[in-house]
Symmetry: C2
Subunit: 274 residues, 2 copies
DNA sequence: AGGTCTATGTCGTTT
DNA sequence: AAACGACGTAGACCT
């Protein structure tokens, strides 16, 4: 794998090597002292500092300082990199459309410039995602509760797509929302939206989930996640929604409920345990 | 600014330079062919490929392929980098706690290794954020509607903090939720949560926002954003919530509504225009 | 191209 | 440390 490197190149030399790299579809890394301007969805200015600039052949541009996982400025894939010399300084302009955004990096000094024809044929194999949680649940629906029967995934409603839709042992519709990690209020709101939408579509009840949870609710909502915050648990209770502890990774616990059934979070109407 | 570079170093040489850089709190960039393992909140494996690895003095680790803005693997700030030679290969292990996460990068070949003592004293100046939208709105509350009086920001409720809380010309409480960009269903759910919480706290109505929007609603909810999706607009209408078009950037339009007042989205009960 | 949602999200702020 | 929400979120999948 050939690597082209220049130490402390002149602006002209840096321009030549970088322009060639961009043209050839190579990966470029520039170490230097630069200032950055951005204008697009928002706008930003950044004064001079030592930074790492990465230009990728897919149009990605990254400006990294010595701190933070997030680049201080960037351009997502799809941008076009242009290289120029301006007032004796190397300048990189990365532009994209829809939305129109411009990133301008002006180097006061280039410490080092490197270009490489990177080859990366491998795909990342990731475990523990929400998709894994769904697979686990569909493989053993009793993890939700005994008698639960999934009828489909990604069911479309007016309020969005439901992760898993099914029916309980009584034939009552059940909306299941999956989260790979501990959930807060927003997940409860999301579940509530879906349950409301299904109730409306099924033409069942208008809105009886207020207070009298359980018996009157003709559509159930179950949040499946490793755990839940206090506030979210309260919100679940207020809406008559339920929670089941489950982890995307089979080994990591999360199924600590010995009864195996969903808790009606915060509800006192728990007079009829399965 | 001194830069230390090694081209195609041996594993021993790479180890020496990289260990010294990590120890000294320098920024390191490694170009090489490597495989990556990650285990923590999730887990992943990645086969051999040409990549850019960045180690920052704050504990950040980044593994970038030739594609994408997001690193294929990473460690956020706070991790500890360890460098070793294993089976004649350079290996970097980046570990952190809470949560416990481990990133392991094993190099089959190191094309180039660079270390630099980066100095970056500048802060990013960002314009067009939600904070800017709030400032704009507080500077001229009539942008929401004539007679609107803000009474506070970040007001705490059982369901979270309200962006801007105030009262309209009639003295009716108004919950304002700000978004710097076009909003979808989740923003509507969020607003609804806050309005519900204020209604409960004010001890006003239990839940009259179903169907009979407007007249019975003793707490109003207004979503302020540049624009709204169709689905979100429908949801707003169903909940008796309102929308005001406003952009964080004064120049960029968004205040296209000639009437200047909030629309009750999707509502037909608009018989009493201000 | 736009809508909707997940993410090893990350990041800041507050409790 | 946990919780909560914003982010120029990015990225994937679908219409």
């Amino acid at each position: 794998v050939p690597v082209t490197t220049r130490r402390r190149p002149t602006a002209r030399e840096a321009h030549a090597v970088l322009a060639e790299a961009v043209e050839a579809g190579h990966l470029a890394v520039v170490l230097g002292r630069c200032a950055v301007e951005y204008d697009g969805r928002a706008a930003s200015s950044l004064g001079l500092g030592d930074r790492v600039v990465v230009l990728k052949p897919d149009g990605t541009a990254l400006v990294h300082t010595d701190e933070g996982r997030t680049p201080v400025n960037w351009q997502p894939p799809g941008a076009t990199h242009r290289v120029a010399v301006r007032d004796g300084c190397l300048r990189v302009v990365s532009e994209r459309s829809s939305p129109t955004e411009t990133l301008t990096v002006t180097f006061e000094a280039v410490y080092q410039l490197t270009a490489i024809d990177a080859a990366d044929p491998e795909e990342l194999d990731l475990r523990g995602s929400e998709a894994d949680l769904r697979r686990r649940l569909l493989a053993d629906p009793s993890l939700v509760e005994a008698g639960f029967e999934p009828q489909g995934t990604e069911r479309r409603t007016d309020a969005g797509a439901i992760d898993v839709f099914g029916r309980d042992a009584d034939g009552t519709p059940v909306v299941v929302e999956l989260k790979r990690r501990r959930v807060g209020p927003s997940a409860v709101s999301q579940l509530r939206r879906y349950v409301d939408a299904v109730r409306r579509e099924e033409g069942l009840d208008g809105d009886d989930a207020e207070g009298d949870a359980g018996e009157g609710a003709t559509v159930r909502g179950v949040l499946v996640a490793p755990s839940v915050t206090d506030r979210a648990r309260t919100l679940l209770g207020e809406r008559g929604l339920e929670f089941v502890a489950l982890d995307p990774d089979p080994g990591s616990g999360g199924d600590a409920d010995p009864t195996g059934g969903p808790d009606v979070a915060g509800s006192e109407t728990d007079a009829d345990p399965v």
